[in-house]
């Protein structure tokens, strides 16, 4: 199996990946409005303000939408897997995989509560996955 496709952090995103390596889900928010956003960038996409800060998100989310890929990408193994989007408690959506749960429509119900878990993939990268809350 070829090595899994992994992100290459940039100066604007490195804090996110450093946080992931420590097991922290980091978002950013506008310090004036408090609105959180994702993916990382050094300004608020709603207002253009550079007065933003990084903060640790709760890691809680709900399953927002997904597909179950029946033709796995070579680096993803041989079994079908869900490509999911979760809606974080703080508002933003993010793509992820759902772990600790069968990859079936029956097990993957929209709006089910989830929580973040990190899986170390290399010396510098841990990927944020989500598992059913309390599982």
């Amino acid at each position: 199996m070829p090595p899994r496709m992994l992100p290459e952090p940039t100066p604007e995103t490195s804090h996110f990946w450093e946080g992931a390596l420590r097991g922290e889900l980091l978002l950013q928010r506008n310090r004036q409005t408090g609105e959180a956003y994702f993916p990382p960038r050094p300004f608020c996409p709603k207002t253009g303000s550079r007065d933003v800060e990084v903060f640790r998100a709760s890691g809680k989310a709900v399953l927002w939408s997904y597909v179950i890929n029946q033709r796995p990408r070579p680096d993803m193994g041989t079994e079908p897997y869900a490509i999911a989007v979760v809606k974080l408690e703080e508002g933003p959506t993010m793509m992820t995989n759902i772990v600790g749960c069968p990859q079936t429509p029956e097990a993957l119900q929209l709006d089910m509560p989830l929580e973040v878990v990190f899986e170390k993939m290399s010396d510098t990268i841990a990927l944020p996955f989500f598992k059913p809350a309390g599982a």
Partner: protein, 380 residues
């Protein structure tokens, strides 16, 4: 006639369509371009503006021996050609060029001389989507759909219905890739690609191309073909990451583009006789009908189920069979435009009797971009 009107005076697809292993990408562009020039009674020396996507307008111009005063390389995916038409209309009115050629060619199936679409692992999509296993459009464009279905209480059968009715249109089109009738069960029982999407809810992968030639409406009357006038245009872009759509039940880019096109055309939805909505996957016509304002949010599935978009319905939709049954080389927007032009010329295989206004609506990327062109065969 309104001042500053622009018209299509040349339109053609590639000589062959479907599987063309003996022609490269640039060759498909050129074949379509030469066919469109023949249609308009022109040669490359008459063209002073070029626009294309997939390859660079430099490659196109030099290959055809054109030395243009205008070049547009806007590349936002499959609706790039709608944006090219819009920009060409503005350019003609601004005096940047008089006769603009827009081409598409793609060896989607045979991959002859075709490039790839690498995503840098440092791009935002490369960092925040690709690590989670997307394997091309069937696993990305489809991601928002379960949320859409749940929001409006719809089912997978509602997606299947789209493919069934478009196959009925394709049966009337001799050039369509697939013409045999299908049922909802056929669609649901087809190979599963990315649950809930089966193969028959996904577009074809074929080879082909198309080209358009535009000029000012006052010159258009001197050309051999009946002019097809550009009444209104719109465009927008939204996100390079499907996971970051503003709303999973609606395309913001569709809404912005469609609204602008209807406003500039000065028409209402009731005036529309024929509609093309780029259908890379079965959910696109649902989003399109709603976001363009033909029906209210959540009503498109019932509108299609009640056969309003089918043969004999009040709003014939994707009358060539669409990307699901006609052809889809990768950037299908050009074929939607071609079918609108055929309908306005009165020469479509599944001609809508008496059609006077056609809307051609495209999507680019995975809900990344949008372009809308409103055509008429009556001078504005």
């Amino acid at each position: 006639m309104k001042p500053k009107s622009v018209a299509v005076v040349g339109a053609a697809e590639t000589t062959k369509m479907g599987k063309i292993p003996d022609v490269s990408v640039i060759g498909l562009h050129a074949d379509a371009a030469l066919n469109a020039m023949a249609d308009a009674g022109l040669t490359p020396a008459d063209i002073d503006g070029v626009a294309t996507a997939g390859i660079s307008p430099v490659e196109l111009a030099h290959y055809l021996g054109i030395v243009p005063t205008y070049a547009d390389g806007t590349q936002v995916g499959g609706c790039s050609f709608m944006l090219h038409v819009r920009h060409a209309a503005a350019a003609i009115n601004a005096g940047l060029a008089k006769t603009i050629l827009i081409t598409h060619g793609e060896s989607g199936r045979s991959r002859v001389g075709a490039g790839g679409f690498p995503r840098s692992p440092a791009s935002l999509s490369g960092q925040f989507e690709m690590p989670f296993g997307p394997a091309g459009p069937p696993t990305m464009f489809t991601v928002p759909v379960l949320r859409y279905l749940k929001t409006y209480g719809l089912s997978v059968e509602d997606l299947a219905q789209v493919a069934v009715i478009q196959r009925e249109w394709a049966a009337k089109n001799p050039r369509a890739s697939f013409k045999d009738p299908i049922t909802i069960d056929d669609v649901l029982n087809a190979d599963m690609i990315a649950w809930p999407f089966t193969k028959l809810m996904c577009c074809l992968v074929t080879d082909g191309g198309g080209a358009l030639i535009l000029t000012s409406a006052d010159r258009a009357k001197d050309f051999p073909q009946k002019p097809v006038y550009v009444l209104g245009t719109g465009e927008s872009v939204e996100t390079p990451m499907v996971s970051q759509m503003y709303d999973f039940t609606s395309s913001t880019a569709f809404k912005v583009s469609g609204k602008k096109a209807f406003e500039t055309a000065g028409i209402s939805h009731a005036d529309v006789d024929h509609l093309m909505i780029y259908d890379a996957f079965a959910h696109l016509p649902l989003y399109g009908l709603e976001d363009l304002g033909f029906v209210k949010p959540g009503e498109a599935a019932a509108f299609i189920r009640e056969r309003n978009t089918a043969i004999g319905g009040k709003l014939p939709l994707n009358t060539n069979g669409g990307g699901l049954s006609y052809m889809h080389s990768g950037m299908y927007g050009m074929y939607a435009l071609q079918e609108s032009v055929r309908q306005m010329r009165g020469i479509a295989p599944a001609q809508v009797p008496g059609a006077k206004i056609s809307v051609s609506h495209g999507v680019g990327g995975m809900f990344a971009a949008s372009g809308t062109i409103i055509f008429s065969n009556e001078a504005p």
